[in-house]
Protein backbone atom coordinates (compact mmCIF):
# COMPACT_ATOMS: atom_id res chain seq x y z
CA UNK A 1 0.00 0.00 0.00
CA UNK A 2 1.22 3.50 -0.81
CA UNK A 3 1.45 5.48 2.44
CA UNK A 4 2.22 9.17 2.88
CA UNK A 5 4.47 9.95 5.85
CA UNK A 6 1.86 11.55 8.12
CA UNK A 7 1.68 11.73 11.91
CA UNK A 8 -1.62 10.26 13.06
CA UNK A 9 -3.03 11.68 16.27
CA UNK A 10 -6.43 11.40 17.87
CA UNK A 11 -8.13 14.73 18.47
CA UNK A 12 -11.12 16.05 20.38
CA UNK A 13 -13.06 16.92 17.24
CA UNK A 14 -12.92 15.66 13.66
CA UNK A 15 -12.82 18.99 11.84
CA UNK A 16 -10.50 20.90 14.19
CA UNK A 17 -8.38 17.73 14.49
CA UNK A 18 -8.17 17.29 10.72
CA UNK A 19 -7.37 20.94 10.03
CA UNK A 20 -4.74 20.97 12.81
CA UNK A 21 -3.07 17.75 11.64
CA UNK A 22 -2.89 19.02 8.03
CA UNK A 23 -1.45 22.37 9.14
CA UNK A 24 1.10 20.58 11.36
CA UNK A 25 2.03 18.36 8.40
CA UNK A 26 2.57 21.45 6.25
CA UNK A 27 4.89 22.92 8.91
CA UNK A 28 2.65 25.19 10.99
CA UNK A 29 3.08 24.55 14.71
CA UNK A 30 -0.41 25.06 16.11
CA UNK A 31 -2.66 23.22 18.57
CA UNK A 32 -6.21 21.95 18.11
CA UNK A 33 -7.66 24.32 20.79
CA UNK A 34 -5.97 27.25 19.01
CA UNK A 35 -7.52 26.26 15.63
CA UNK A 36 -10.90 25.79 17.31
CA UNK A 37 -10.74 29.11 19.18
CA UNK A 38 -9.42 31.25 16.32
CA UNK A 39 -12.17 29.96 14.05
CA UNK A 40 -14.74 31.14 16.60
CA UNK A 41 -16.43 27.79 16.86
CA UNK A 42 -17.82 27.63 20.38
CA UNK A 43 -21.57 27.82 19.94
CA UNK A 44 -25.02 26.64 20.91
CA UNK A 45 -28.11 26.00 18.82
CA UNK A 46 -31.39 24.17 19.38
CA UNK A 47 -33.04 22.65 16.31
CA UNK A 48 -36.37 21.09 15.51
CA UNK A 49 -35.93 19.98 11.92
CA UNK A 50 -37.09 17.05 9.82
CA UNK A 51 -33.45 16.48 8.97
CA UNK A 52 -33.07 15.04 12.47
CA UNK A 53 -35.03 12.14 13.94
CA UNK A 54 -35.77 14.17 17.10
CA UNK A 55 -35.17 17.74 18.32
CA UNK A 56 -31.47 18.22 18.92
CA UNK A 57 -28.81 20.77 19.81
CA UNK A 58 -25.38 21.68 18.55
CA UNK A 59 -22.50 23.00 20.63
CA UNK A 60 -20.25 24.21 17.80
CA UNK A 61 -20.63 26.36 14.74
CA UNK A 62 -21.59 25.14 11.27
CA UNK A 63 -19.57 22.20 9.84
CA UNK A 64 -16.87 23.52 7.51
CA UNK A 65 -16.59 26.79 9.39
CA UNK A 66 -13.42 25.79 11.28
CA UNK A 67 -11.45 25.55 8.03
CA UNK A 68 -13.23 28.51 6.44
CA UNK A 69 -12.93 30.92 9.37
CA UNK A 70 -9.39 29.88 10.26
CA UNK A 71 -8.31 30.49 6.67
CA UNK A 72 -10.06 33.84 6.48
CA UNK A 73 -8.57 35.09 9.74
CA UNK A 74 -4.99 33.81 9.33
CA UNK A 75 -4.50 34.02 5.55
CA UNK A 76 -3.98 30.24 5.21
CA UNK A 77 -5.29 29.13 1.82
CA UNK A 78 -7.04 25.78 1.54
CA UNK A 79 -7.52 24.04 -1.78
CA UNK A 80 -11.14 22.83 -1.84
CA UNK A 81 -13.19 20.89 -4.37
CA UNK A 82 -16.61 19.27 -4.76
CA UNK A 83 -17.73 16.93 -7.52
CA UNK A 84 -20.83 16.04 -9.48
CA UNK A 85 -19.41 12.70 -10.55
CA UNK A 86 -18.33 9.93 -8.16
CA UNK A 87 -15.75 8.73 -10.62
CA UNK A 88 -14.14 12.15 -11.00
CA UNK A 89 -14.17 12.62 -7.22
CA UNK A 90 -12.46 9.28 -6.68
CA UNK A 91 -9.88 9.89 -9.41
CA UNK A 92 -9.09 13.37 -8.09
CA UNK A 93 -8.56 12.08 -4.55
CA UNK A 94 -6.36 9.27 -5.89
CA UNK A 95 -4.26 11.74 -7.88
CA UNK A 96 -3.65 13.82 -4.73
CA UNK A 97 -2.52 10.73 -2.82
CA UNK A 98 -0.24 9.83 -5.74
CA UNK A 99 1.27 13.33 -5.38
CA UNK A 100 1.85 12.70 -1.64
CA UNK A 101 -0.72 15.26 -0.51
CA UNK A 102 -2.63 14.14 2.61
CA UNK A 103 -6.19 15.19 1.88
CA UNK A 104 -9.17 15.69 4.15
CA UNK A 105 -12.54 14.60 2.85
CA UNK A 106 -16.11 14.95 4.10
CA UNK A 107 -18.01 11.71 4.68
CA UNK A 108 -21.15 10.15 6.13
CA UNK A 109 -19.82 8.96 9.50
CA UNK A 110 -21.92 5.77 9.27
CA UNK A 111 -19.61 4.20 6.68
CA UNK A 112 -16.45 4.41 8.78
CA UNK A 113 -16.53 0.65 9.37
CA UNK A 114 -13.42 0.57 11.59
CA UNK A 115 -15.34 2.35 14.40
CA UNK A 116 -17.59 0.42 16.81
CA UNK A 117 -21.17 -0.01 15.55
CA UNK A 118 -22.70 1.94 18.47
CA UNK A 119 -20.66 4.98 17.51
CA UNK A 120 -21.64 5.09 13.84
CA UNK A 121 -24.65 7.21 12.91
CA UNK A 122 -25.78 8.76 9.63
CA UNK A 123 -24.32 12.24 9.70
CA UNK A 124 -22.83 13.78 6.59
CA UNK A 125 -20.33 16.09 8.24
CA UNK A 126 -17.50 13.86 9.44
CA UNK A 127 -13.96 14.65 8.24
CA UNK A 128 -11.10 12.19 7.80
CA UNK A 129 -7.67 12.58 6.22
CA UNK A 130 -6.76 10.16 3.46
CA UNK A 131 -3.06 9.30 3.72
CA UNK A 132 -2.59 6.26 1.50
CA UNK A 133 -4.20 3.77 -0.87
CA UNK A 134 -3.91 0.61 -2.90
CA UNK A 135 -6.22 -0.95 -5.50
CA UNK A 136 -9.00 -1.78 -3.03
CA UNK A 137 -8.47 0.30 0.12
CA UNK A 138 -7.71 3.76 1.43
CA UNK A 139 -5.56 4.40 4.48
CA UNK A 140 -7.11 7.11 6.67
CA UNK A 141 -6.24 9.15 9.71
CA UNK A 142 -9.47 9.60 11.69
CA UNK A 143 -9.40 11.83 14.79
CA UNK A 144 -11.78 9.42 16.53
CA UNK A 145 -9.74 6.24 16.08
CA UNK A 146 -6.50 5.38 17.92
CA UNK A 147 -4.68 3.94 14.90
CA UNK A 148 -4.45 4.63 11.20
CA UNK A 149 -7.34 2.71 9.64
CA UNK A 150 -8.20 1.17 6.28
CA UNK A 151 -11.52 1.44 4.50
CA UNK A 152 -12.60 -0.19 1.23
CA UNK A 153 -12.55 2.15 -1.77
CA UNK A 154 -16.24 1.49 -2.55
CA UNK A 155 -17.25 2.25 1.09
CA UNK A 156 -15.26 5.50 1.09
CA UNK A 157 -16.73 6.51 -2.27
CA UNK A 158 -20.22 5.83 -0.97
CA UNK A 159 -19.50 7.81 2.22
CA UNK A 160 -18.31 10.78 0.12
CA UNK A 161 -21.21 10.73 -2.33
CA UNK A 162 -24.33 9.95 -0.30
CA UNK A 163 -27.27 12.31 -0.74
CA UNK A 164 -29.21 13.83 2.13
CA UNK A 165 -28.84 16.72 4.54
CA UNK A 166 -25.50 18.47 4.02
CA UNK A 167 -24.51 15.96 1.32
CA UNK A 168 -20.71 15.96 1.00
CA UNK A 169 -20.59 15.78 -2.83
CA UNK A 170 -17.09 14.38 -2.50
CA UNK A 171 -15.86 17.56 -0.80
CA UNK A 172 -12.13 17.54 -0.08
CA UNK A 173 -9.52 20.02 1.08
CA UNK A 174 -5.88 20.50 1.98
CA UNK A 175 -3.83 23.58 2.93
CA UNK A 176 -1.91 24.82 -0.09
CA UNK A 177 -0.43 28.05 1.26
CA UNK A 178 0.57 29.12 4.77
CA UNK A 179 1.79 32.73 5.17
CA UNK A 180 5.29 33.11 6.67
CA UNK A 181 4.21 35.42 9.44
CA UNK A 182 0.72 34.76 10.73
CA UNK A 183 -0.37 37.43 13.20
CA UNK A 184 -1.60 34.98 15.83
CA UNK A 185 -2.33 37.70 18.39
CA UNK A 186 -4.73 39.43 16.01
CA UNK A 187 -6.25 36.10 14.97
CA UNK A 188 -6.88 35.13 18.61
CA UNK A 189 -8.69 38.39 19.33
CA UNK A 190 -10.82 38.00 16.20
CA UNK A 191 -11.70 34.41 17.18
CA UNK A 192 -12.69 35.46 20.70
CA UNK A 193 -14.78 38.32 19.39
CA UNK A 194 -16.59 36.06 16.93
CA UNK A 195 -17.24 33.45 19.64
CA UNK A 196 -18.63 35.96 22.12
CA UNK A 197 -20.74 37.65 19.43
CA UNK A 198 -22.25 34.34 18.35
CA UNK A 199 -23.15 33.42 21.90
CA UNK A 200 -24.72 36.65 23.13
CA UNK A 201 -25.48 38.94 20.22
CA UNK A 202 -26.86 36.81 17.37
CA UNK A 203 -30.46 37.94 16.86
CA UNK A 204 -31.81 34.42 16.28
CA UNK A 205 -34.16 32.87 18.88
CA UNK A 206 -32.65 29.37 18.76
CA UNK A 207 -28.94 30.23 18.60
CA UNK A 208 -26.40 31.15 21.28
CA UNK A 209 -27.66 31.74 24.82
CA UNK A 210 -31.19 32.11 23.43
CA UNK A 211 -30.83 28.59 22.02
CA UNK A 212 -29.86 27.25 25.44
CA UNK A 213 -32.94 28.80 27.01
CA UNK A 214 -35.09 27.36 24.24
CA UNK A 215 -33.54 23.93 24.87
CA UNK A 216 -34.22 24.28 28.62
CA UNK A 217 -37.88 25.07 27.89
CA UNK A 218 -38.42 22.45 25.20
CA UNK A 219 -36.78 19.50 26.97
CA UNK A 220 -39.70 19.39 29.40
CA UNK A 221 -42.00 18.87 26.39
CA UNK A 222 -40.03 15.94 24.95
CA UNK A 223 -42.32 13.29 26.59
CA UNK A 224 -45.12 14.50 24.27
CA UNK A 225 -43.14 13.68 21.13
CA UNK A 226 -41.24 10.56 22.23
CA UNK A 227 -42.68 7.22 21.04
CA UNK A 228 -42.47 5.67 24.51
CA UNK A 229 -40.44 5.79 27.73
CA UNK A 230 -37.50 3.91 26.15
CA UNK A 231 -37.39 6.38 23.28
CA UNK A 232 -37.49 9.29 25.72
CA UNK A 233 -34.69 7.66 27.73
CA UNK A 234 -32.67 7.26 24.52
CA UNK A 235 -33.08 10.92 23.56
CA UNK A 236 -32.28 12.16 27.08
CA UNK A 237 -29.13 10.02 27.14
CA UNK A 238 -28.20 11.43 23.73
CA UNK A 239 -27.76 14.77 25.53
CA UNK A 240 -24.76 13.15 27.23
CA UNK A 241 -23.50 11.73 23.94
CA UNK A 242 -23.75 15.11 22.21
CA UNK A 243 -21.95 16.85 25.06
CA UNK A 244 -19.27 14.28 25.75
CA UNK A 245 -18.86 11.55 23.16
CA UNK A 246 -19.38 13.04 19.75
CA UNK A 247 -16.07 14.79 19.35
CA UNK A 248 -16.31 17.73 21.73
CA UNK A 249 -13.30 17.29 24.01
CA UNK A 250 -15.83 17.03 26.85
CA UNK A 251 -18.58 19.28 28.22
CA UNK A 252 -19.77 20.36 24.76
CA UNK A 253 -16.44 21.95 23.66
CA UNK A 254 -16.30 24.06 26.83
CA UNK A 255 -13.04 22.36 27.96
CA UNK A 256 -11.53 22.85 24.51
CA UNK A 257 -12.44 26.55 24.60
CA UNK A 258 -11.02 26.91 28.14
CA UNK A 259 -7.75 25.43 26.86
CA UNK A 260 -7.77 27.89 23.95
CA UNK A 261 -8.17 30.81 26.37
CA UNK A 262 -5.30 29.54 28.51
CA UNK A 263 -3.05 29.26 25.46
CA UNK A 264 -4.26 32.71 24.31
CA UNK A 265 -3.28 34.19 27.70
CA UNK A 266 0.27 32.96 27.18
CA UNK A 267 0.54 34.10 23.54
CA UNK A 268 -0.88 37.54 24.28
CA UNK A 269 0.73 37.82 27.70
CA UNK A 270 -2.70 38.74 28.98
CA UNK A 271 -3.36 37.26 32.47
CA UNK A 272 -7.05 38.21 32.36
CA UNK A 273 -7.59 35.48 29.75
CA UNK A 274 -6.23 33.02 32.31
CA UNK A 275 -9.02 34.01 34.68
CA UNK A 276 -11.55 33.66 31.87
CA UNK A 277 -10.09 30.26 31.05
CA UNK A 278 -10.61 29.09 34.64
CA UNK A 279 -14.17 30.39 34.59
CA UNK A 280 -14.86 28.50 31.35
CA UNK A 281 -13.37 25.31 32.84
CA UNK A 282 -15.80 25.64 35.76
CA UNK A 283 -18.69 26.21 33.34
CA UNK A 284 -17.52 23.05 31.56
CA UNK A 285 -17.62 21.11 34.84
CA UNK A 286 -21.21 22.24 35.29
CA UNK A 287 -22.13 21.08 31.76
CA UNK A 288 -20.51 17.77 32.59
CA UNK A 289 -22.79 17.49 35.61
CA UNK A 290 -25.71 17.78 33.18
CA UNK A 291 -24.16 14.91 31.22
CA UNK A 292 -23.96 12.70 34.32
CA UNK A 293 -27.48 13.68 35.37
CA UNK A 294 -29.03 13.00 31.93
CA UNK A 295 -27.32 9.60 31.71
CA UNK A 296 -28.51 8.63 35.20
CA UNK A 297 -32.18 9.63 34.83
CA UNK A 298 -32.25 8.14 31.32
CA UNK A 299 -30.88 4.80 32.50
CA UNK A 300 -33.29 4.69 35.45
CA UNK A 301 -36.25 5.82 33.26
CA UNK A 302 -36.70 8.45 35.96
CA UNK A 303 -38.21 10.90 33.49
CA UNK A 304 -41.24 12.39 35.17
CA UNK A 305 -42.08 16.13 34.98
CA UNK A 306 -40.16 16.98 38.16
CA UNK A 307 -36.97 15.33 36.98
CA UNK A 308 -37.15 16.97 33.55
CA UNK A 309 -37.79 20.32 35.23
CA UNK A 310 -34.63 19.74 37.25
CA UNK A 311 -32.74 19.09 34.01
CA UNK A 312 -34.29 22.18 32.46
CA UNK A 313 -33.20 24.31 35.44
CA UNK A 314 -29.64 23.01 35.12
CA UNK A 315 -29.58 24.05 31.44
CA UNK A 316 -31.02 27.47 32.30
CA UNK A 317 -28.29 27.89 34.94
CA UNK A 318 -25.66 27.24 32.25
CA UNK A 319 -27.36 29.86 30.06
CA UNK A 320 -27.17 32.37 32.94
CA UNK A 321 -23.48 31.60 33.50
CA UNK A 322 -22.57 31.77 29.82
CA UNK A 323 -24.56 34.99 29.31
CA UNK A 324 -22.35 36.69 31.91
CA UNK A 325 -19.19 34.95 30.73
CA UNK A 326 -19.48 35.79 27.03
CA UNK A 327 -20.67 39.34 27.76
CA UNK A 328 -17.51 39.84 29.85
CA UNK A 329 -15.39 38.21 27.16
CA UNK A 330 -16.86 40.48 24.47
CA UNK A 331 -16.01 43.56 26.57
CA UNK A 332 -12.36 42.44 26.78
CA UNK A 333 -11.91 42.36 23.02
CA UNK A 334 -14.36 45.04 21.90
Amino acid sequence: MKEIDFEHKMAAHCESGTVTALLNHKGLDITEPMVFGISGNIFFGYFESSNFSFPTFIVRNKPGSIRKNFGKITGVKFHTKQFKSEEKGREYLNSLIDRNIPTATQVDFYYMDYLPEWQRVHINVHFVTVIGKNETKYLVSDSYFPEKATIAVNRMTKARFVNGFMAPKGFLFYPEYIPDNINLEKAIIKGIKKSAYNMVKLPVPFLGIKGMRKFAKKVTEWPKIARDIDHLSHEIMKITLLLEDQGTGGAGYRYLFATFLQQAAEKLNEPSFNDMSKRMMKIGDNWRNISYFAAKIGKNRDLGPERLKELSNMINDRADEEQVFFTDLYKFVE
Binding site: M10, S50, S53, Q119, H122, G249, L256
Partner: protein, 156 residues
Protein backbone atom coordinates in the same frame (compact mmCIF):
# COMPACT_ATOMS: atom_id res chain seq x y z
CA UNK B 1 -11.86 18.39 35.66
CA UNK B 2 -8.72 16.44 36.45
CA UNK B 3 -7.57 13.11 35.07
CA UNK B 4 -8.80 11.06 38.04
CA UNK B 5 -12.29 12.57 37.67
CA UNK B 6 -12.71 11.68 34.02
CA UNK B 7 -10.41 8.82 33.02
CA UNK B 8 -12.28 5.68 31.97
CA UNK B 9 -10.58 2.42 31.07
CA UNK B 10 -12.50 1.23 28.01
CA UNK B 11 -10.36 0.32 25.02
CA UNK B 12 -13.13 -0.47 22.46
CA UNK B 13 -14.24 3.18 22.38
CA UNK B 14 -11.51 5.77 22.86
CA UNK B 15 -11.80 9.54 22.70
CA UNK B 16 -9.90 12.71 23.58
CA UNK B 17 -11.05 14.95 26.44
CA UNK B 18 -9.41 18.20 27.53
CA UNK B 19 -8.65 18.27 31.24
CA UNK B 20 -6.74 20.16 33.91
CA UNK B 21 -3.30 18.59 34.24
CA UNK B 22 -1.18 18.36 37.39
CA UNK B 23 0.73 21.58 36.54
CA UNK B 24 -2.64 23.41 36.15
CA UNK B 25 -2.25 23.62 32.39
CA UNK B 26 -5.12 22.30 30.30
CA UNK B 27 -4.47 19.62 27.70
CA UNK B 28 -5.69 16.47 25.98
CA UNK B 29 -6.27 13.11 27.66
CA UNK B 30 -6.86 9.89 25.76
CA UNK B 31 -9.55 7.99 27.62
CA UNK B 32 -12.33 5.48 27.15
CA UNK B 33 -15.92 6.62 26.63
CA UNK B 34 -17.82 7.05 29.89
CA UNK B 35 -21.11 6.36 28.11
CA UNK B 36 -19.91 3.25 26.29
CA UNK B 37 -18.29 1.84 29.43
CA UNK B 38 -21.38 2.31 31.63
CA UNK B 39 -24.45 2.38 29.43
CA UNK B 40 -23.91 0.17 26.37
CA UNK B 41 -26.05 -2.67 27.74
CA UNK B 42 -28.93 -0.27 28.26
CA UNK B 43 -28.48 1.09 24.71
CA UNK B 44 -28.54 -2.37 23.10
CA UNK B 45 -31.49 -3.41 25.25
CA UNK B 46 -33.52 -0.47 23.93
CA UNK B 47 -32.53 -1.11 20.31
CA UNK B 48 -33.47 -4.77 20.67
CA UNK B 49 -36.88 -3.85 22.11
CA UNK B 50 -37.56 -1.43 19.25
CA UNK B 51 -36.48 -3.97 16.67
CA UNK B 52 -38.79 -6.63 18.09
CA UNK B 53 -41.74 -4.28 18.30
CA UNK B 54 -41.18 -2.93 14.76
CA UNK B 55 -40.75 -6.48 13.45
CA UNK B 56 -44.14 -7.45 14.87
CA UNK B 57 -45.74 -4.44 13.16
CA UNK B 58 -43.95 -5.32 9.94
CA UNK B 59 -45.17 -8.93 10.12
CA UNK B 60 -48.74 -7.70 10.46
CA UNK B 61 -48.30 -5.29 7.55
CA UNK B 62 -48.94 -2.26 9.77
CA UNK B 63 -45.71 -0.58 8.70
CA UNK B 64 -43.45 -0.90 5.68
CA UNK B 65 -39.74 -1.86 5.68
CA UNK B 66 -38.97 1.81 4.91
CA UNK B 67 -40.42 2.83 8.29
CA UNK B 68 -38.77 -0.13 10.03
CA UNK B 69 -35.26 0.80 8.88
CA UNK B 70 -35.79 4.55 9.23
CA UNK B 71 -36.57 4.20 12.94
CA UNK B 72 -33.76 1.72 13.61
CA UNK B 73 -31.19 3.87 11.80
CA UNK B 74 -32.53 7.05 13.41
CA UNK B 75 -32.99 8.93 10.18
CA UNK B 76 -34.74 12.27 10.13
CA UNK B 77 -37.57 12.19 7.57
CA UNK B 78 -36.13 15.14 5.62
CA UNK B 79 -32.68 13.56 5.45
CA UNK B 80 -34.00 10.15 4.35
CA UNK B 81 -36.36 11.68 1.76
CA UNK B 82 -33.45 13.57 0.25
CA UNK B 83 -31.28 10.44 0.15
CA UNK B 84 -34.04 8.42 -1.50
CA UNK B 85 -34.90 11.21 -3.95
CA UNK B 86 -38.53 11.63 -2.85
CA UNK B 87 -40.51 14.41 -1.19
CA UNK B 88 -41.26 14.16 2.53
CA UNK B 89 -44.93 13.70 1.66
CA UNK B 90 -44.10 10.74 -0.59
CA UNK B 91 -41.78 9.27 2.04
CA UNK B 92 -44.60 9.27 4.58
CA UNK B 93 -46.81 7.47 2.08
CA UNK B 94 -44.12 4.81 1.74
CA UNK B 95 -44.38 4.04 5.47
CA UNK B 96 -47.55 2.11 4.59
CA UNK B 97 -47.44 -1.32 2.91
CA UNK B 98 -50.27 -0.41 0.53
CA UNK B 99 -48.03 2.24 -1.03
CA UNK B 100 -44.70 0.47 -0.50
CA UNK B 101 -45.86 -2.49 -2.58
CA UNK B 102 -46.44 -0.22 -5.58
CA UNK B 103 -42.87 1.16 -5.56
CA UNK B 104 -40.65 0.69 -8.59
CA UNK B 105 -37.48 -1.32 -8.28
CA UNK B 106 -35.29 1.72 -8.91
CA UNK B 107 -36.93 3.62 -6.01
CA UNK B 108 -36.57 0.59 -3.74
CA UNK B 109 -32.88 0.43 -4.67
CA UNK B 110 -32.50 4.07 -3.55
CA UNK B 111 -34.02 3.20 -0.18
CA UNK B 112 -31.78 0.13 0.14
CA UNK B 113 -28.74 2.31 -0.60
CA UNK B 114 -29.78 4.86 2.02
CA UNK B 115 -30.13 2.07 4.59
CA UNK B 116 -26.89 0.45 3.41
CA UNK B 117 -28.60 -2.92 2.95
CA UNK B 118 -29.00 -5.25 -0.03
CA UNK B 119 -32.26 -4.69 -1.92
CA UNK B 120 -33.36 -8.19 -0.85
CA UNK B 121 -33.33 -7.10 2.81
CA UNK B 122 -36.34 -4.88 2.12
CA UNK B 123 -38.32 -8.10 1.71
CA UNK B 124 -36.88 -10.44 4.32
CA UNK B 125 -35.21 -10.52 7.72
CA UNK B 126 -32.70 -13.23 8.42
CA UNK B 127 -32.60 -14.17 12.09
CA UNK B 128 -31.28 -17.02 14.19
CA UNK B 129 -32.06 -18.13 17.72
CA UNK B 130 -30.24 -15.81 20.14
CA UNK B 131 -28.21 -18.65 21.64
CA UNK B 132 -27.13 -19.78 18.19
CA UNK B 133 -26.24 -16.41 16.71
CA UNK B 134 -22.53 -16.96 17.28
CA UNK B 135 -22.62 -20.41 15.62
CA UNK B 136 -23.89 -19.27 12.24
CA UNK B 137 -22.63 -16.55 9.96
CA UNK B 138 -24.59 -15.12 7.05
CA UNK B 139 -22.64 -13.13 4.50
CA UNK B 140 -24.60 -11.15 1.94
CA UNK B 141 -22.31 -10.66 -1.01
CA UNK B 142 -22.84 -8.10 -3.74
CA UNK B 143 -22.46 -9.17 -7.34
CA UNK B 144 -21.84 -7.10 -10.47
CA UNK B 145 -25.62 -7.06 -10.88
CA UNK B 146 -26.81 -4.34 -8.43
CA UNK B 147 -30.22 -6.05 -8.17
CA UNK B 148 -28.89 -9.48 -7.18
CA UNK B 149 -26.97 -10.73 -4.15
CA UNK B 150 -25.75 -14.09 -2.91
CA UNK B 151 -26.32 -14.98 0.75
CA UNK B 152 -23.77 -17.42 2.08
CA UNK B 153 -24.75 -19.30 5.24
CA UNK B 154 -21.85 -20.91 7.09
CA UNK B 155 -21.19 -22.53 10.42
CA UNK B 156 -18.97 -20.06 12.27
Amino acid sequence: MKKDDVYVDFKPHQLVLYIEQDDESYGPLLTGSFMAKNYLDDYFEKIEKWEKSLREQLKKGEISPVYYYMILQEYGEGDLASRAGVSKRKLKQHFKMENFKKLKLTRLKKYAEAFDIPLASLFQLMISKPDESDKISIKQMETDNPYFIISKVELA
